[in-house]
């Protein structure tokens, strides 16, 4: 049994393109007064030559390059977490395993519980590593999703993101040392949102937001029953929550203050700015990353907060349906340095700023992404005008279609060559 387990490395991939929220509001005729509560600036947009597999590989590959081949060879479990499955039987992980070049001595598996599943995988993986049955092993969890929303989703459309978060777990955590045993759970059956078919979602926004809030209070209460003296206002230097949209997290923080730290209510805005806002910088630029959302929030916090002197982070993961967990870990200066090496802010700034016509043209094609088709050819060159405008030069795995239901991929280059990334 080892006491030290956590996140060794963390990276995200949030696409090569995006559209600003004001552009989308104007084009859709949405009420601009509602932007204040949404607190979103842009959403990432996938290209039709991208899918959950390419997102996952494009998030994890720079991370594996950073740790080197010897360390990567110690990955003996690969878990993909997604609500954007591509087959009833074959996992996203099987393709990801191939294109990351992982060792054949590796478990591959896919998990599903809406936006929560990556945290379930993280906790199961952490428990496995802590057990000591395979000393030196690493577990790679990749949360990856694509968006299917269009104008029918109304105010949800500007808040939906696309992309993946790659979370490498080991007994040598640099990004976040988990507080083993410090967690609180809350789950119950509800139909708040779901994806009954490969081309559409169903959602009851009030049911979902209210379940998110009930689960937050109840999972935190369960946490306090395991962790003596845990206090919402005092125990955590920072908070990173699953972020359906940034305004939702502000409302959640306000409710938690009311429920668990009522004497601090007068200073709730200052507390939000100090402990929560750093985690929302990237989510507000990307949209809801779904399964990877809380790990994008963690990356945002480590890049935008100040953890140099050591900081305890309270994390909340919620997935519709529903399942939720409040847990925590400790970050320090090494954490910030490890995440900064991934240059996430630069990756986000490099995205092509789409105009509405370009965006609209991508939507219909993107909705075919998860549809099982025996044979399909995707002409990557059709998206070359967008890929070439990406502000960093990098290799990307792209989705080229299907052959006898098997998905096909190839490597392509994005950017015009003037700004290489990642650096050697």
């Amino acid at each position: 049994m080892t006491e030290t387990v956590g996140i060794e490395a963390l990276n995200v991939y949030c696409g090569t393109a995006g559209i600003t929220v004001p552009t989308l509001f104007a084009a859709r005729g949405l009420d601009p007064a509602r932007m204040a509560n949404l607190m979103m600036t842009a959403r990432s947009v996938a290209l039709p030559c991208e899918d959950p597999v390419t997102h996952a590989v494009n998030a994890a590959r720079p991370l594996l390059q950073a740790i080197g081949p010897e360390a990567a060879a110690r990955i003996e479990t690969l878990v993909t977490s997604t609500e954007s499955g591509i087959d009833y039987s074959k996992s996203v992980a099987s393709y990801v395993h191939e294109h990351l070049g992982l060792s054949p001595r590796c478990r591959t598996v896919e998990v599903k519980q809406a936006c929560y599943a990556a945290t379930a995988a993280l906790q199961l993986g952490a428990g496995y590593l802590a057990s000591g049955v395979s000393p030196g092993a690493k577990v790679l969890v990749i949360a990856t999703d694509v968006a299917l929303v269009d104008q029918d989703a109304h105010y949800t459309e500007p808040a939906m993101g696309t992309g993946a978060a790659a979370v490498l777990l080991s007994t040598e955590p640099q990004v976040l040392t988990l507080d083993l045993g410090a967690f609180g759970l809350h789950s119950f059956q509800t139909l708040d949102s779901a994806r009954p078919g490969p081309t559409f979602d169903i959602a009851d926004s009030d049911r979902s937001l209210f379940a998110y809030l009930d689960c937050l209070s109840n999972s935190f209460r369960a946490y306090t029953e395991r962790v003596e003296g845990a206090d919402f206002a005092e125990t955590f230097d920072y908070l990173a929550f699953h972020t359906p949209f940034a305004g939702m997290v502000r409302a959640a923080h306000r409710k938690m203050t009311r429920d668990f730290a009522k004497d601090r209510l007068a200073a709730v805005d200052d507390d939000f700015a100090t402990r929560v806002a750093p985690s929302l910088v990237y989510p507000a630029m990307v949209g809801n990353l779904c399964s990877g959302s809380v790990y994008l929030a963690l990356a945002s916090l480590l890049d935008n907060g100040d953890v140099a002197d050591g900081a305890r982070v309270g994390m909340y993961s919620y997935g519709s349906g529903c399942a939720a967990e409040f847990f925590s870990g400790v970050a320090d200066a090494d954490s910030a340095a490890a995440v900064r090496r991934m240059r996430i802010q630069e990756q986000l700034d490099a995205r092509v700023d789409l105009d509405f016509a370009e965006y609209d043209a991508l939507l219909q094609e993107n909705r075919r992404c998860l549809v099982p088709e025996p044979d399909r050819r995707i002409e990557v060159d059709a998206y070359r005008p967008i890929l070439d405008r990406y502000g960093l030069q990098r290799d990307l795995l792209v989705y080229t279609g299907t052959k006898d239901y098997g998905r096909t991929y190839e490597w392509a280059t994005a950017g015009d060559g003037r700004n290489p990334w990642p650096t050697a």
């Binding site: 509560n37 509800t190 009851d204 926004s205 209210f210 009930d214 409302a251 306000r254």
Partner: protein
Amino acid sequence: MTPKTATPEPATPDREAVFQTVTAVITEILPTVAADRVTGRRRLADLGADSVDRVEIVVGVLDRLGLQAPMAAFAAVPDLDAMTDLLTELLREGSTP
């Protein structure tokens, strides 16, 4: 056991007072909404409340009434009448020894 009387106990929740609390919280969260527009057949969305406003209103009303009820119960209420009925019922349950 206390015998039932014709006059209500002082602690018995008054539905009208609950509705007034609902109205007061709504007009605080949505300052542009006049109190006379808040009627029982309206939904919060009819009054221009977005999802965050709806969260703030339900949280605010529960807090004002001193109730610790799950938010989920309010997801299915069709209008403000139904919300007021639910709140009144929760208060009655809460006031039952």
